[in-house]
Symmetry: C2
């Protein structure tokens, strides 16, 4: 019999392998142990890895993917409300010079506004294409329900103005530790009601990523519940659709995503801080548990290394199951929301241009 | 200074962390080592993991995801042409009873045919909806360019007939070790030319997964080059778009995907056996290197654990960059082509129904 099993621990796969097969590749003891560990139904056992930076991408994407884990570290969690406030302020202050530089590069202007009693910003591109003159984008910033206050939350709004050619209003919803749930959603709905008084919803979209993506979905759920008119379309980038650690990529992309790294730590603590005792599976906090029937057409964006890959594809599938026109784009090698991180990267322009092209199909002129 | 770093190896992240932060989570020595290893730009260093079976899916999907590594093992590679033939025959023979049972369950009939001089099968559902009566699906089976001969290659064709409601022709292209590249592509083109003589291409689609997805893309490239008319739309499921180990998920999903497991072993050997000395980056072998301008509308399907996740999303992005209407669906937790594996799974019906709904947008009646 030609059966060739180089090491004893491979016995199980030898049992299944037909006798005419031989091992064309050397099998190391480590490989054999992994084969044995995965020879029965159950959890998947995977080894420690060193995952190279992809060689098939441009320098900007490669730099984002190669970047060290984001700081503050995933496990650096403030212990007191004051420590949270200090963290938020530090990150917000650090973002402002880069945002100013990017606006300059992209020809986007920013001015403060108040909408529905909520402070915000109007982002305007150098020129607005004729087809977009009467349209308005409402942007919901991300940041784990704690980060991104004030002007520091205007990254995506700026990109939508620059690469989408839209007038964009970004708003500064209240956040914990000062104002936990439902303050952020109350502000978001006040903004949407004010937007409905400013423009026809057929000419408006709501756009947000990460926490902003989750809030965008929660806004539609609440607008449906309150009988409000809905936007013509929405864009939910890598939405935090599930605040519990449910979804396969919370595990498969754990330690792989260099932005969020893990659920445990900052993310889990931010979820609890925001929820303030509310059930994390309440659809207003985790919109994946809501009813997506009647949602506006939706475009979703994520990356293959995104800790929220599953949040995104679960949202996509659930929208499609509800008959909603919904499309998905997944960027090679990208971690959480990295399609927004480098305003000059071709992938950023591509992601936003795709979102705008999708919105153009559904927004009235 | 309130700086709290519990273990010395965390020094680097302490440098970046503002002093008001403390570690809210215990940091183990292993966590700290990973933080340190990922504190500089470069490859990502990830730990050994035990990845649970997702709890948010139905029993059929959970069973597919929980399943042990596929057999024969990824590293069981035949050493001789006769050993390849024996392996192929063993797997093909094993598939036939399950396919017969599934046809019975789904009400699909099968009959042999010859198209363009190539043997094949016609798969017909119990009833064909009025809108599909004049349409024809050409299916290209998968199997790493070596597996899936004869009736054993009719899984996807059967599902397209059952859940799509189409008449489907699947064909038995020649494969190595007897007939390496370009025999398979020559047969595929002979079939497409014969199909063009049978029906108008506006009423036809080409559909294939894995190797069949890669061949579907290569058929469009070659049809363009030969000036042939193109199908109205195509469906390329988790296409083997790149026969080299290029694409991030070859690494991120290595050992995670329980179907293919790794590039090294069977896959790499099958690629070389098929290529028979040709450059693996020739667009006829790795269509990702071809020009996608002018492609028909395309739907792509994959799963979050798929070793070919990157093959699929790279194809999607490249199609979109070429202005092709192209949509992507990604199934939660699924490994390579598992959306086809269980004919009774709701996810299988969902994947195929989505593909059919996409084709319906573009095929003439």
């Amino acid at each position: 019999m030609a059966l060739t099993c180089r090491i004893a621990v491979l016995a199980l796969s030898c049992l299944f392998a037909p006798p005419m097969l031989v091992q064309a590749q050397d099998v190391t003891a480590a490989d054999a142990a992994l084969n044995a560990a995965n020879a029965k139904a159950g959890p998947r056992v995977t080894p420690a890895k060193t995952i190279p930076v992809p060689t098939n991408l441009g320098p900007a994407a490669a730099a984002l993917i190669a970047a060290p884990y984001g700081q503050p570290a995933w496990n650096a969690v403030p212990a007191t409300p004051d420590a949270w406030r200090a963290r938020v302020k530090m990150l917000a202050d650090a973002a402002l010079p880069d945002l100013a530089k990017a606006r300059e590069m992209l020809g986007v202007t920013i001015e403060p506004t108040v909408i529905g009693g909520v402070k915000g910003f109007i982002l305007t591109p150098k020129t607005i294409p004729e087809a977009h003159r009467n349209q308005l984008i409402i942007n919901v910033h991300g940041g784990g329900y704690v980060d991104g206050p004030g002007e520091s939350g205007t990254l995506e709004a700026m990109l939508m103005a620059a690469y989408g050619g839209y007038k964009v209003i970004e708003f500064d919803y209240r956040m914990p530790p000062d104002a936990p749930y439902p303050a952020a959603m109350d502000d978001a709905m006040a903004v949407w009601k004010a937007a409905l008084a400013m423009n026809d919803p057929s000419r408006m979209a709501i756009v947000g990523s990460s926490t902003g993506g989750g809030m965008t979905l929660a806004m539609i759920l609440r607008a449906k519940a309150e009988g409000l008119r809905l936007p013509a379309a929405i864009a939910a980038g890598t939405p935090w659709a599930d605040l519990t650690e449910t979804g396969d990529s919370y595990k498969t992309n754990e330690w792989v995503d260099n932005v969020l790294v893990r659920y445990r730590g900052y993310l889990a603590e931010a979820a609890l801080l925001y929820a303030n005792g509310h059930d994390l599976k309440d659809p207003q906090l985790s919109p994946i548990y809501g009813d997506f029937h009647g949602f506006p057409p939706t475009i979703l964006t994520t990356g293959t290394r995104d800790l929220f890959l599953s949040n995104t594809v679960r949202t996509h599938r659930k929208l499609r199951q509800a008959g909603v026109p919904a499309v998905l784009q997944v960027f090679e090698g990208m971690s959480h929301a990295q399609y927004l991180f480098d305003p000059a990267a071709p992938e950023t322009k591509e992601a936003i241009t795709e979102i705008a092209a999708f919105l153009d199909q559904y927004l009235a002129k």
